[in-house]
C-alpha cells in the first residue's frame, strides 16, 4: 500500500463494481498525489477501464468512494466530471469527424450568447491560442476528419485543456501514433505536469510508462496489486505484477536452415504510390520482419501480396511457382494467410459466434457447401482449446473477448487453413503483455513447423526479439536487410529513417 498521505491528491477508496456475475473491481484502494504523473497498468480485463469509467462518471461504483483533495467525487455524468476538472482522452478517438476543430474542442460546452447563439469567432480564436500553446499547426476551422490520426488524438488533449482540467486521464493515447508524434504528445504532457496537472496514464506500452510516469499502479483481475516508484521498479517486476507469474524467457533458435526451400518470393513488385520495385524472399520456417515507419508502404505491400489489390508490375512466387492472385480467396487457396492490422474492422464478424468466426476461411476454401453444425462445433471447440482462447465457449460472441483473445481468434482462423506463408500485420497492437507473449510463442511454433512467417510491426523490440531477419522499408522502397545479430535497434532505425540516396 502507498504511504498514508494527507488530503491532497486523488484517493480511490475500496471501490467495488460488478457487471452481473463478473466482478470488474474488488476493493481497489490507492492514492495518486496531486501533480504527479501516475500510470495504471494491467492486462486486459484487469479493471482499468472500469476504474476510468467510474472516474469519468459513466459508471457508478457499487461500493467505495473517490476523494479529490479532501472532497468526495460523485460524478454522476461525464458533464459533472468535466465540471470538477477531470478531462478524459479516450483510446478510441472520440471525435466528431463532421465538425470543425474548434467545434470539437468546445463540444458540449460551447461559448454561447443569448438563446444559445454560438460565438464562433471567439471559439476559433481561443482554439487558435490553445493550439499555439501546444505547438500544433492546425487550422481551427479544419474538419476533424481531414486531420491525421495523431492530430486528432492531440485534439482531445487540447479539448481537456480548454476547460482547465486539474486531472487529465489518458487511456492508451499512443496506439495510433508514430514515435515522433508520441514524443510530441509526451512533451505536451510534461508541460501540463509543470502546470500542476495530475495525470493518470493508462498504457500497455511499458517503455512509455517508464519514460513518462512517476509512479506505477498495477491492477490484476480487478484487484489492486501494488504501486511502484519508477526509480525502484524494473520492467520485469511490473510484468510479474501484471501477469502474476514469471514469463518464460525466449528460447534462442537458429532460424531456418539455409537449405530450406523458399516459400514466398516477391520480384520487383510495384503499386504506386504505395511502394515500388520491392524484391525479397522468405524461406520455409523463417520469421522475417518487415519494419518501417507508418506510411512506409508495408501494410499495402502485404495486402497486395494477399491479392487485395492488383500490382502494377512484378511477380509473386509461392513455393517456386509464379501465381496470379486476383482476390484474397485465390491467395488463401494458394497457401497464403493474412492476419490484418485492424482486427475489429478487418478480422472479425461481431454478429457471428466464435464457431463461425473461427471456421470462415477454412470452410470458404473447402469444396463442401453444406454446413454441418456438429462438425463445426467440434472443430471450433478444438481450436479454442488449442489456442487457449479465453471464452465461454464456441457460442460466445467476439464482443465478450478481450483484445488479446480476439487477436488469437483471428490467428487461429487463419492457421486452421494450414498456410505455407503466414503474414501478420501488427499482430500484437493493443494487446497486453501476456497475450503478446502467447502470440509470439504461436508465431515461433508455426515457424518451427515449417511455415514461412512475414511479420509487419512498428514495435522495434518485438521485431528484434521475434525475427530471424529484418527487412527495412522507407517511403515504399526496401532500404536494406539485416540478418540475426546485425539487426540492432540502432541499425534498424538508421535504415528506416535515413534517405540512402541523399546520403550517397
Amino acid at each position: 500500500m502507498p504511504p498514508v498521505q494527507g488530503d491532497a491528491g486523488l484517493a480511490f477508496r475500496d471501490l467495488h463494481k460488478s457487471f452481473g456475475a463478473a466482478r470488474a473491481l474488488r476493493a481497489v484502494s490507492f492514492h495518486v498525489a496531486e501533480g504527479e504523473t501516475h500510470a495504471i497498468v494491467g492486462e486486459n480485463g484487469a479493471g482499468k477501464s472500469t476504474l476510468l469509467k467510474i472516474l469519468a462518471g459513466l459508471v457508478k461504483a457499487d461500493e467505495g468512494r473517490i476523494i479529490w483533495n479532501g472532497e468526495p467525487l460523485h460524478a454522476g455524468s461525464p458533464r459533472e466530471a468535466l465540471e470538477r476538472g477531470i478531462g478524459m482522452v479516450y483510446q478510441e478517438m472520440l471525435a466528431f469527424p463532421n465538425l470543425s476543430v474548434a467545434a470539437n474542442i468546445f463540444a458540449g460546452r460551447e461559448i454561447t450568447g443569448p438563446a444559445g447563439w454560438l460565438r464562433g469567432a471567439e471559439m476559433r480564436s481561443r482554439t487558435r491560442a490553445l493550439l499555439d500553446e501546444l505547438h500544433l499547426a492546425i487550422d481551427p476551422a479544419a474538419l476533424a476528419e481531414s486531420l491525421p490520426a495523431a492530430h486528432r488524438q492531440l485534439l482531445q488533449v487540447a479539448r481537456a485543456l480548454a476547460f482547465d482540467c486539474r486531472i487529465l486521464v489518458l487511456d492508451e493515447p499512443t496506439t495510433a501514433l508514430t514515435d515522433a508524434e508520441t514524443d510530441h504528445l509526451f512533451a505536451v504532457i510534461r508541460k501540463l505536469k509543470q502546470r500542476g496537472v495530475t495525470i493518470l496514464y493508462v498504457s500497455h506500452r511499458l517503455p512509455e510508462v517508464f519514460r513518462l510516469c512517476d509512479r506505477i499502479t498495477v491492477l490484476r483481475d480487478g484487484q489492486f496489486v501494488e504501486t511502484l516508484d519508477r526509480a525502484t521498479a524494473t520492467h520485469d517486476r511490473v510484468v510479474r505484477a501484471m501477469v502474476g507469474r514469471d514469463l518464460p524467457h525466449r528460447a534462442d533458435d537458429a532460424g531456418a536452415p539455409a537449405y530450406a526451400k523458399t516459400a514466398l518470393e516477391v520480384r520487383g513488385l510495384s503499386r504506386r504510390p504505395c511502394f515500388r520495385d520491392v524484391s525479397f524472399s522468405v524461406r520455409a520456417g523463417e520469421i522475417v520482419a518487415l519494419f518501417g515507419l507508418v506510411g512506409s508502404g508495408r501494410s499495402e505491400l502485404i495486402e497486395t501480396i494477399f491479392g487485395l489489390f492488383a500490382a502494377q508490375a512484378g511477380s509473386i512466387l509461392i513455393e517456386g511457382k509464379a501465381v496470379h492472385l486476383r482476390s484474397a480467396c485465390d491467395a488463401a487457396r494458394a497457401g497464403l494467410a493474412l492476419v490484418p492490422e485492424e482486427r475489429q474492422r478487418q478480422g472479425l464478424f461481431f454478429n457471428l459466434a466464435l464457431r463461425h468466426n473461427l471456421l470462415i476461411p477454412l470452410r470458404q476454401m473447402s469444396k463442401t457447401r453444406l454446413i454441418r453444425p456438429a462438425a463445426d462445433w467440434a472443430e471450433a471447440t478444438h481450436l479454442i482449446d488449442a489456442w487457449r482462447i479465453k471464452a465461454s465457449g464456441p457460442d460466445a460472441l467476439p464482443d465478450s473477448l478481450s483484445g488479446g483473445n480476439q487477436q488469437k481468434v483471428v490467428l487461429a482462423k487463419w492457421l486452421a487453413t494450414r498456410p505455407a506463408v503466414l503474414m501478420l500485420d501488427e499482430p500484437t497492437k493493443g494487446v497486453d503483455v501476456g497475450a503478446k507473449f502467447e502470440i509470439h510463442h504461436i508465431i515461433r511454433r508455426e515457424a518451427a513447423a515449417g511455415t514461412a512467417c512475414l511479420v509487419v510491426s512498428s514495435d522495434l523490440p518485438e521485431v528484434l526479439s521475434l525475427a530471424h531477419r529484418v527487412i527495412v522499408m522507407r517511403e515504399g522502397r526496401v532500404q536494406g536487410e539485416l540478418q540475426g545479430a546485425e539487426a540492432t535497434e540502432e541499425a534498424v532505425m538508421h535504415l528506416a529513417t535515413t534517405d540512402l540516396k541523399a546520403a550517397s
Binding site: 472520440l94 467545434a103 463540444a107 458540449g108 460546452r109 460551447e110 454560438l118 487550422d139 474538419l143
Partner: protein, 322 residues
Amino acid sequence: MTRTRRAWHVRELSTIVILLVEIAFFGWYLWPEAGRAHPFLNGENAVLILKYSSIYGIAAIGAAIVIISGGIDLAPGAIIALAGVVCGGLFVEAGWGLGPSILAALAVGTLSGLLSALLIVAVKLPPFIATLGVMGITRGLAFIITEGRYYDVSGRLVGGWRPFGLPQDWVPPVIMIALALFFHLLMTRFNWGRGIFSVGGNETAALFSGIAVGRLKTSVYVLSGVLAAAAGVVLTFVQGQGKADLATGYELDIIASAVVGGASLSGGRGSVLGAVLGTLIFGVLRNALPQIPGATFYDRLIVGAVVIVIVVMDQLLLKRGE
C-alpha cells in the same frame, strides 16, 4: 501546416446550380412559338411551383434535421394526412375557428412526434421501426376519423380571403421560406443545431462530451412531427379538402429532397436550406414534365434517376475535394 479541408459548406451552392440548370433546360425545351406566352417561364407558374413545393418543403426541413441527427422519420406523409383531417374536420364539421383548428392539427403533429421520440429515446427502438409504426398509427387514425369521407375546406373559406394581407397563393411559399431561414440559422449558428450535428457525427462522443443526447433527439422528432403537421395544414388549404389518403408516399419524396439537398443518411451532414432547394428541384420536375406530351408517365422514373445522379455527383465532388 498539413493540408486539411475547411468546414465550409458549398452543398447549397451545388443544389442551386442544379436547380438553375434544370430551369434553364425546361425553359429551352418548352420555348413557345413566336408570339405565344411561355408556358413554363412565367411569374404565375413560379408561384404555382413554390406553392405545391412548400407542402414538401416545410416537412423536408424536419426531415433534414432528423437525418442530420443520424435518424430517419418515415411518419411525415401520414402526419400530413392526419393533420389535414383534424384541421379540416374541426373547421368544417365541428365549426371551430380557423386558428384553433390549425393549432389542434399542430398539436396532433407534436403528439405523433413525441410518440416517435419516446419509442426511440426511451424504448430504444431503431428510428426506422419506431417511425414506421407511428406512420401506420397516424395514417390509421386519419381513416378512422374520416370513415371514407372528406372535409370540404374550400367551401367554408371566405372568398377573396387575404391572410397577412398576402394573396392566398403566396402564403405557403412565404411560410416555407421563413421557416427554412429560421431553422437554417438555428442549425448553423445556435448551440441546439451544433448539438444535433454532434449527435449525428458521433453519438458516443456526444454522450461522453456531456451533450444531452436524449433531449436533443426528442426535440428533433417532435419538430419533425410539428412541421409535417404544418405541411398538412398547408396541403388541406391548397387542395381545398382534408382527406385520409392524401400525401401517400410523401415521406420518401421528403427524404429524397433532404438527401438531394446534401443530407447524409449516416448522419452528421446536411442542410435545411439544401433540403428546401431539393424540394424545388422535384417541384420543377412535377410542374414541367406534364407539359411535355407523353412525359407524364416518365415522372416517377425521372425523379428516381435524378436522386441517384445528384447523390453520385455529390460524392464525386466530395472525393475530389479531399
